[in-house]
Amino acid sequence: MILDILAGLLFVGSFTPLVIPMGKTEPNFLGMPYTMWMGFLVSVLFVLLAYGVSRIQKRNDHAD
């Protein structure tokens, strides 16, 4: 449930100026423009959240 809420917040946040500010390239990170590294970070976070959910589902399967 907590992971679902986090995923929901990340989903909504992905479409806000937090991730996609219009016309903004700063601050850079390792030479990458803002939207690029932020987008990359969001992708990695979604994979990590998916991994977290899969671990919980696995535990539930074993409990069954």
């Binding site: 679902d4 995923a7 989903f11 992905s14 479409f15 806000t16 991730v19 996609i20 500010p21 219009m22 016309g23 903004k24 390239t25 850079n28 390792l30 030479g31 990458m32 423009p33 803002y34 939207t35 690029m36 987008g39 990359f40 969001v42 992708s43 990695v44 979604f46 994979v47 959240l49 998916a50 991994y51 959910v53 899969s54 589902q57 696995k58 399967d61």
Partner: protein, 468 residues
């Protein structure tokens, strides 16, 4: 380069023939032919799903998207793909349980069972046919035109198209879904290595990723932020794309079948996580290719740019591999889509299994031939349907997800409203109906209405029809 390409093609075909012989099925049943035996492990599941998901669009369209519209293309596909992975893990297991319970043969058949009405199945099948065949056709025609441009005057464009469709149909007919999955694995590995070699060469040109972005900034600063130089990447565009892509595992039958036939829940979870990692790793080199094009070929046509980045700017061996990788990407998606349309049809037929399989095999050829014809006589309307393929099939998501997730006896509200939404969507794309309402794009409006229908179904109609 023709010699290199022919040698690479010959090796590729030999491996294909070997795989076809290994996977050949003599006594074909729905289980072993259409569902690949239903016992797919994590590694093969990952490769076949990835190869099916990452089409020629990934190799051609994504570098071009980065080149033309900038880094926002990452949000459009990579972020949406990883969102999809989360959704797949969340809903995939429920789909698998329902599929086992209702003797899954295809999503259309599953809709007939869950809604208790053939109409729901016809809507799911019709939606798949209307949007997938143009998509397959446009992929085949795009690759054929590209091959013709790479080797002018060797054979006409239609011969390239015919060869691609013939290869797909032969191995699909011989070994069924398992043959397709083995070939997907081969094609997926090839696509992955090719795209990374080309991507690495693109970074090498600049010296480093930092230098690459600096150079892009000096050419066109707007490429480094949203909405991009042409203003394409608006929040609405991203939301619509994300919704369409998140729904793919349930709205595109070639992917939902793979979800259902995974060996175990554990295999599905590993496959989904792997898919998220692969999505990032496959899309990353297309960013490098796109930025390379933005600096060196900003004004070139898509075909010219792809020709340079994949072929003319690469060593001869890599160029041949690039071409084969491109063909492999198109084939691995198209064969699965054609085959999935056959499976969908099978799931709607209730006759003896052997007869049903014979009919399905005939229709797999028919769907292949239709795609071939449309690829040769590609019209503006077909291209439009192909371009909107993912969004179009996403219109079916509320109906399909309600069917999968609901435990109530369902009314016909969802199938009817989905049918109406699909018609409205197609007509608005054709310019016969408005494409936006109060500043909202029609896709979002229709999706909103369908979500409202889901609420009504669950709160009003579902209860009303629920068994006592």
């Amino acid at each position: 380069m023709l010699t290199n390409f022919l040698i690479a093609s010959a090796i590729y075909l030999v491996v294909l023939i070997f795989l076809v012989r290994r996977t050949r099925i003599k006594d074909k049943t729905t289980s072993n032919y259409l569902l690949g035996g239903g016992n797919i492990g994590f590694v093969m599941g990952l490769f076949t799903t990835a190869a099916t998901l990452f089409s020629a669009f990934t190799v051609v369209g994504m570098p071009d998207f980065f080149r033309t519209h900038g880094v926002g293309a990452w949000i459009f596909l990579a972020v949406s793909d990883t969102m999809m992975v989360y959704g797949l893990i969340r809903v995939g297991e429920i789909l698998r349980k329902k599929a086992r319970h209702l003797d899954f043969k295809g999503m259309s058949g599953l809709m007939v069972s869950t809604y208790g009405s053939k109409f729901a199945g016809y809507v799911a099948f019709g939606g798949a046919v209307v949007f997938l065949i143009p998509y397959i056709a446009v992929q085949i025609s795009g690759i054929s035109i590209f091959l013709n441009a790479a080797f002018p005057d060797v054979v006409p464009v239609w011969v390239w198209s015919l060869s691609i469709v013939a290869v797909m149909i032969i191995y699909s007919e011989t070994g069924g879904l398992r043959a397709i999955m083995y070939n997907d694995t081969l094609q997926g590995i090839m696509l992955f290595f090719t795209i990374w070699i080309v991507g690495y060469n693109c970074i090498e040109h600049f010296g480093s990723i930092e230098a690459m972005f600096e150079k892009v900034a000096s050419v066109n600063q707007e490429l480094l932020s949203v909405p991009g130089p042409k203003g394409l990447f608006s929040p609405q565009f991203f939301i619509i794309s994300a919704l369409a892509i998140i729904c793919l595992p349930f709205t595109q039958p070639q992917i939902s079948t793979r979800v259902v036939i995974m060996k175990s829940s554990s295999s599905l979870r590993k496959m989904a996580i792997g898919l998220g990692v692969v999505a990032i790793l496959v899309i990353l080199p297309t960013l490098f290719m796109g930025m390379y094009g933005a600096v060196l070929y900003p004004e070139a046509s898509t075909q010219d740019f792809i020709g340079h980045v994949l072929l003319y700017d690469q060593a001869a061996g890599i160029a041949a591999l690039g071409l084969i990788g491109l063909v492999a990407a198109a084939i691995s998606t198209s064969d699965s889509q054609i085959f999935a349309l056959g499976s969908e049809l099978r799931s709607l037929i209730h006759i003896e299994d052997k007869k049903a399989i014979s009919i399905t095999r005939v229709f797999i050829v028919v769907f292949g031939v239709l795609a071939l014809i449309f690829s040769i006589v590609s019209t503006e309307h077909l291209v439009l349907l192909a371009r909107t393929s993912f969004t179009g099939t996403a219109m079916m998501a509320p109906m399909i997800l309600t069917g999968i997730l609901s435990s109530k006896k369902l009314s016909l509200l969802m199938p009817i409203s989905t049918f109406a939404a699909l018609l409205f969507f197609v007509f608005s794309k054709l310019g016969w109906l408005p494409s936006s309402v109060l500043g909202l794009q029609i896709e979002l409006v229709l999706f909103g209405i369908l979500v409202l229908a889901v609420v009504l179904e669950n709160l009003v109609f579902g209860k009303k029809f629920a068994p006592k």
